[in-house]
């Protein structure tokens, strides 16, 4: 099967000598919901910039649904929709005009562009604002406007660069639902985000980029399985004056109603509950101390930093 996105040995060195990408390679399969994660300055936006021609690569190759950008960039661009991190529309144009005009840039006849504009503005809850100048919209509405604009030509591959940054929880959830809906309809989605719970709940596969290199590229499930331990917070019914006996688990009393317990790989939660129950400690609820993906992400970056330091010595 032809990959939705195939990146081979992609390199970018800026004029000032900064090497933003040091030969990264990865593939995204059609229909996937893919997370591209990394700290600030890791090379995510440079990669996206190359895919949509705003940044010129200095080496390597990129194919979008089998179309090599060096051979047929316009053809590759027809397959691609991009929602950038920063607002990049005319603040003085009306919402309807911004989306409909973008259709024209992809060669869509006016009537079709108008129909699609209505379809996506309605889906994204912006139809009532269609005659409003973009500068009058709230931050969340501006983000949705950029999504509608990116979808006007119904691309097979949609790339979203931090689409939910600065968006309130309710709106973020509704955007997740919308993205899951279009993914279920067959659109391949690549997402960059700093909200790792977003990546964990939406994406199936992941690439982590750090200092211009891919340091992990696998499925989210496989990555989560590599967690050697998880730290849970347990809320207890009774008031606790001292920490109970945790048996083979590591734990501590956080406050008079909550405990923090570390569960190593191979240990069973049932065993923990049974042990606490025997001491008349009733657990009413539990949660991860931090997002699981976040813990992995932080540890992978730390490991990468350590390896670099060792190589430097």
């Amino acid at each position: 099967m032809t990959a939705a996105l195939s990146i081979r040995n992609l390199q970018k060195t800026y004029d000032n000598g900064f090497q933003a990408l040091k030969g990264i390679s990865f593939e995204v399969q059609p229909g996937d919901f893919f997370a591209l994660l990394g700290p600030n300055g890791a090379g995510k936006s440079t990669t996206i910039g190359i895919l949509c021609s705003l940044v010129r690569k200095t080496g390597g190759s990129v194919s979008i649904f089998g179309i090599d950008i060096d051979k047929d960039f316009p053809g590759a661009k027809q397959q691609l929709g991009v929602v950038p991190q920063e607002f990049n529309f005319s603040q003085f144009e009306k919402v309807f005009d911004i989306v409909c005009t973008q259709g024209g840039f992809y060669g869509m006849p006016r009537k079709l562009a108008e129909e699609r504009t209505e379809k996506y503005l309605r889906k994204l809850g912006l139809w009532d604002k269609r005659f409003t100048q973009a500068r009058m919209l709230s931050g969340g509405m501006k983000r949705r406007l950029m999504i509608a604009r990116a979808l006007i030509h119904e691309p097979k591959l949609l790339i979203l660069d931090e689409p939910t940054a600065g968006v309130d929880i309710e709106l973020r959830r509704s955007m997740w639902e919308f993205l899951q809906e279009i993914n279920a309809q067959g659109t391949t989605i690549i997402l960059t985000t700093h909200y790792l719970e977003e990546a964990e709940s939406l994406c199936r596969n992941i690439a982590i980029i750090d200092k211009g290199e891919i340091i992990e590229n696998t499925s989210i499930k496989s990555l989560i399985k590599t967690l050697s331990k998880e730290v849970f917070i347990l809320d207890c019914l009774e008031k606790l004056s001292d920490a109970p006996d945790f048996g083979s688990f590591n734990g501590r009393l956080l406050d008079e109603h909550s405990l923090e317990v570390t569960v190593e790989k191979g240990q069973s939660l049932s065993e923990l509950f049974a042990h606490l129950s025997a001491q008349n400690v009733s657990v009413t609820s539990m949660r991860n101390r931090a997002n699981r993906l976040e813990e992995l992400f932080v540890s992978l970056l730390a490991e990468n930093k350590k390896q670099e330091a060792e190589m430097g010595e």
Binding site: Y14, C52, D72, F73, L80
Partner: protein, 259 residues
């Protein structure tokens, strides 16, 4: 390259329509000021002062100055429309809407340039209508007149496009109009015939490209010119080719739009 003629046409007409929509939306800023300025020129230079100057080039001063003023309006408006519109798109990053699309660079350039031409010609037309209040105009060579005004408009719209690509701030888009375009236009035979100048200043004036355009236009309208009109057409064509090539090179290889 899989760019269909339909995509090229749709994309071009979309850019062009958006440009026209933009300057029509803000008509008090784009269409009214040049009309007021030119009307004042007609009243002060053409009517009040001009009546005491007498004939120039065999025509009344008002008749002589009108073609130059129309051309001046076309030049400044073609230039300023493209430079301000394309720089604003760069500043707000809305130019990325076009750059990420399959629209070829030459279509982007043509759309903006012809948008500027549209404004230049509309302002030129309004100024011509106002000029008719002050004097009668009998156009001697209609085809030549239309051709030179269109070509001049294209040339200065292209210059505005290049200025916008280079500009890093709003100051940068006013430097060329203030320090280059205005002096060249005022010294380009709009208000006087270069026959009035000494041989040295006549020779120097002939290095000014605006002189050729103004005189070619004046030749089209009045049938008189200080210079050979064929040279004017050849020069404008050459500069259009050079500036188009430069603009496309900047779009393809320059670091101002793509890093």
């Amino acid at each position: 390259m899989s760019v269909s003629p339909q995509l090229i046409w749709t994309s071009f007409s979309t850019i062009f329509r958006r440009e026209v929509r933009r300057f029509m939306r803000i008509w008090p800023q784009t269409l009214v000021p040049p009309v007021i300025t030119m009307s004042l020129y007609f009243v002060i230079f053409g009517s009040l002062i001009g009546s005491r100057i007498g004939e120039m080039g065999g025509y009344s001063y008002m008749e002589f100055v009108v073609p130059g003023l129309i051309m001046m309006a076309v030049i400044t408006n073609s230039y300023s429309n493209v430079v301000s519109s394309f720089y604003s798109a760069k500043f707000q990053r809305s130019v990325e809407e076009l750059l990420v699309s399959p629209t070829p660079n030459w279509v982007v350039m043509s759309g903006y340039v012809l948008g500027g031409v549209a404004r230049g010609l509309i302002v030129g037309f309004i100024v011509t209508v106002i000029a008719l209040i002050f004097t009668s105009l009998t156009i001697q060579h209609i085809g030549l007149t239309i051709l030179i005004v269109f070509m001049t408009s294209v040339l200065f719209a292209l210059a505005g496009f290049i200025n916008a690509i280079f500009a890093n701030s709003f100051d940068d888009i006013s430097i060329i109009p203030t320090f280059v375009l205005t002096p060249l236009t005022y010294l380009g035979g709009v208000f006087y015939s270069i026959e009035l100048l000494s041989p040295f200043w006549q020779a120097l004036s002939k290095l000014n490209p605006v002189l050729y355009m103004v005189n070619a236009f004046r030749y089209g309208v009045l049938g008189v010119s200080d210079i050979n009109v064929a040279w004017a057409f050849a020069g404008v064509l050459l500069f259009i080719a050079l500036l188009s090539g430069w603009a496309l090179h900047l779009m393809r290889h320059g670091k101002r739009l793509r890093h």
